[in-house]
């Protein structure tokens, strides 16, 4: 695969406010520690399966920060996949919900103990339910986007998924339905490219130079960016979102990211080491520019680690859903 044409911003300056940088760092650490705790819970037998997003924080945190959070078509919809915990943290979500989902307790706020870790859902914030079949969210996102186009305002639909999944027809559906002449939709189509399916390298499967290039055939604006750099991600996302908000047209953004713990617990969920760690690189820069000291960052990580450990202990004591609740919510009742 040819080397990605990454449009990085200048490495040596930090073109964002100190406050925002510190906030992004805080959220990246929080999301990372959350995922590490989820992996640990899985390994200790406090959950059946782990899948999540350590390695994608540099992209997913800015995404959450830039979303217009709320319910209904005036706000942004997120059609996420299962590596989006950092986006949820950035939106202000309490991490204990993810732990509850890992432990499948009754209080799991996303599914009541019914779904895998990382399968978020929150109607109050337009977070569409994450489902495991790869890429289905790309077929649904044009629906919310169409409702938003009609509604007016600047709400957009955001859909995210992996690179391997773009081989599914739903990805093509998304490009087709988002760009119908005269009916272009306000949708930010994101592919987080970690260069892998489960064990299958993308370079053995994908003939296109960049996945983003596929948007060009549909006259969709596209870009491939370095998603391991939170500053770059923030600026690129901001630009792309502003375009979609204002023009009410689709944008296809491909973000190159890392996959730090392999695919999921199915592949062991062990730290891989040969991928760039976006958090470590960002911390070096923050330190170099005097934004945060090593000590401050270590303390932050320790604090989150303790917090999450305490939450995990708490969750361990919480009850599982009662068996008869299988009959709940098969149909919605009119209130």
């Amino acid at each position: 695969m040819p080397k990605p044409r990454l449009l990085n911003r200048d490495e040596d300056s930090l073109p964002l406010d100190r406050e925002l940088l510190v906030r992004m760092h805080d959220l990246m650490v929080k999301a990372r520690v959350l995922e590490e705790r989820l992996i640990q819970m899985y390994k200790q037998g406090h959950g059946y399966f782990w899948i999540g997003g350590p390695g994608e924080e540099a992209f997913n945190v800015p995404l959450g920060l830039l979303m217009k959070k709320g319910q209904g078509p005036a706000y942004d919809y997120l059609h996420a996949h299962y590596r989006q915990s950092a986006t949820m943290m950035a939106l202000g979500e309490d991490p204990i919900g993810a732990l509850r989902q890992m432990k499948n307790v009754a209080a799991d706020p996303y599914s009541g103990g019914r779904n895998f870790a990382g399968h978020f859902s929150k109607r109050e914030w337009n977070i569409a339910p994450v489902s495991s079949p790869i890429e289905v969210q790309y077929a649904m996102a044009p629906g919310t986007a169409l409702a938003q186009k009609r509604h007016g305002g600047d709400g957009i639909s955001i859909v995210t998924g992996g690179d391997a999944g773009t081989a599914e027809g739903d990805f093509a559906s998304c490009l087709v339905w988002s760009s119908r002449p005269g009916n272009e939709l306000p949708i930010l189509i994101i592919v987080t490219n970690n260069k892998w399916g489960i064990s299958t390298p993308g370079e053995t499967q994908h003939g296109e130079t960049h996945i983003a290039d596929r948007g060009k055939a549909f006259n969709i604006r596209t870009k491939t960016i370095d998603g391991n750099d939170p500053i770059n991600s923030y600026l690129e996302l901001k630009e792309a979102m502003e375009y979609v908000r204002k023009e009410r047209k689709p944008f296809l953004l491909e973000a190159m990211v890392s996959r730090l713990y392999g695919h999921s617990s199915a592949s062991g969920a062990n730290f891989v080491g040969n991928e760039q760690d976006c958090l470590a690189v960002f911390e070096e820069r923050l330190e170099k520019h005097g934004i945060l000291t090593r000590k401050e960052m270590d303390e932050l990580r320790n604090r989150y680690t303790e917090d999450m450990a305490a939450m995990a202990r708490q969750v361990r004591e919480e009850p599982l859903p009662a068996p008869e609740t299988i009959w709940n919510h098969i149909f919605a009742e009119r209130k």
Binding site: G72, Y110, S121, P129, P142, A147, R180
Partner: protein, 351 residues
């Protein structure tokens, strides 16, 4: 009287005007065609989608999520199979999110044989649809029910699968739809698109009235005392005619139209079988792992000691398709003679 295609169209018009339907869409659903069976002609929210069934179901889910009320069409049920996982998601979204999200959407699709549609235009979908929990599934057998069930479907806050028996779409009803004009020719002039250039055409809708057939309620279409016949869709009129014909032979059959396959009216079926002690289930889906098999199983488990004969299922043959030749189609799915013979045989069966 209106035919079923006109009835669906009128119900959708009513739903656009009164029930908040925002989008009626699918392949060729919008102008100029208005659907390959004309069921969506002249509707103000009807539009043409890309030729992409997965996109159609995905779009419906997204619209429903965002508070719109979509009615999506899959042109032929034969082409809905490549959307199964999306249908499954639409059905499980409320459950999977512990009640947080519900999807008020309708998917309509023509099903079954009877128009010499050959291998790729004759498939049934009842067994598959009833295998996807979280959906309500309706199937009318006459225009008035088609109207009333569509109204109910559009009032629902859950996904509804609306199956249209192809063979019945052109058949006129025996009962008038509330608000439909007396004169059929006049109705046609008002709401059927003209041949040729339709660019200037606008329908003139009659003053339609609200009329809902509740989801989950079946109907006794012929009362009888000796044998119960339970059917729906294309085979229902065959059952009714068979029962009427057999009356001359002294066979008194009760015929039930299920109208809704899920959640279905077990109380109605149960009461009838308790009365007659004999039951025949009739549909045209392939007989292996057929929805009727579920009904037979339930009948055996719950009503065994009331039965005077084994419950029977008359269904389509388990062959990979319905061949184009008249002889092949006729041999593949129950025909009038098959139904009559099956009722006669069940009625006279002695242990």
């Amino acid at each position: 009287m209106a035919n079923m295609a006109q009835a669906v169209r009128m119900a959708l018009h009513y739903a656009e005007e009164h029930l908040g339907v925002t989008d009626i869409f699918g392949e060729d659903v919008g102008a100029p065609l208005g659907g390959v069976f004309t069921a969506t002609q002249g509707l103000k929210t009807a539009w043409n989608s890309p030729l992409d069934e997965r996109g159609i179901i995905g779009m419906a889910i997204g619209l429903a999520m965002a508070g719109s009320k979509p009615v999506a069409e899959i042109q032929f049920a034969d082409y809905i199979f490549n959307t199964i996982d999306l249908l499954k998601i639409a059905g499980n979204t409320c459950w999977a999110t512990n009640g947080d999200w519900n999807l008020p959407m309708v998917v309509k699709t023509p099903v079954g044989s009877g128009i010499r549609g050959s291998i790729y235009h004759s498939h049934s979908f009842d067994a598959t649809a009833t295998h996807i929990p979280g959906w309500k599934i309706v199937i009318p057998s006459n225009p008035l029910d088609a109207y009333g069930l569509m109204i109910s479907a559009c009032q629902e806050i859950n996904p509804v699968m609306y199956l249209e028996p192809k063979a019945l779409l052109r058949i006129k009803g025996e009962e008038r739809i509330p608000g439909e004009p007396e004169d059929d020719k006049l109705l046609s002039k008002m709401i059927d698109a003209p041949l040729g250039d339709r660019s200037q055409w606008k329908p003139q809708w009659p003053q339609l009235e609200a009329y809902a057939v509740p989801i989950g309620k079946g109907k006794v279409v012929r009362a009888g005392s000796q044998v119960t016949v339970v059917s729906y869709g294309r085979t229902l009129p065959l059952c009714k005619k068979a029962a009427d014909d057999l009356a001359a032979e002294g066979v008194d059959a009760e015929v039930i139209d299920m109208r809704t396959l899920w959640p279905y009216d077990w109380e109605l079926i149960k009461g009838s079988v308790e009365k007659t002690g004999r039951v025949l289930y009739v549909n045209e889906d392939t007989e292996v792992t057929n929805f009727g098999e579920h009904l037979v199983r339930r009948t055996v488990e719950e009503l065994f000691y009331k039965l005077m004969a084994p419950p029977r299922l008359l269904a389509g043959k388990f062959v990979p398709g319905i061949g184009l030749a008249d002889t092949l189609e006729m041999a593949s799915v129950p025909q009038q003679g098959d139904v009559t013979a099956a009722i006669r045989s069940l009625a006279s069966e002695q242990p």
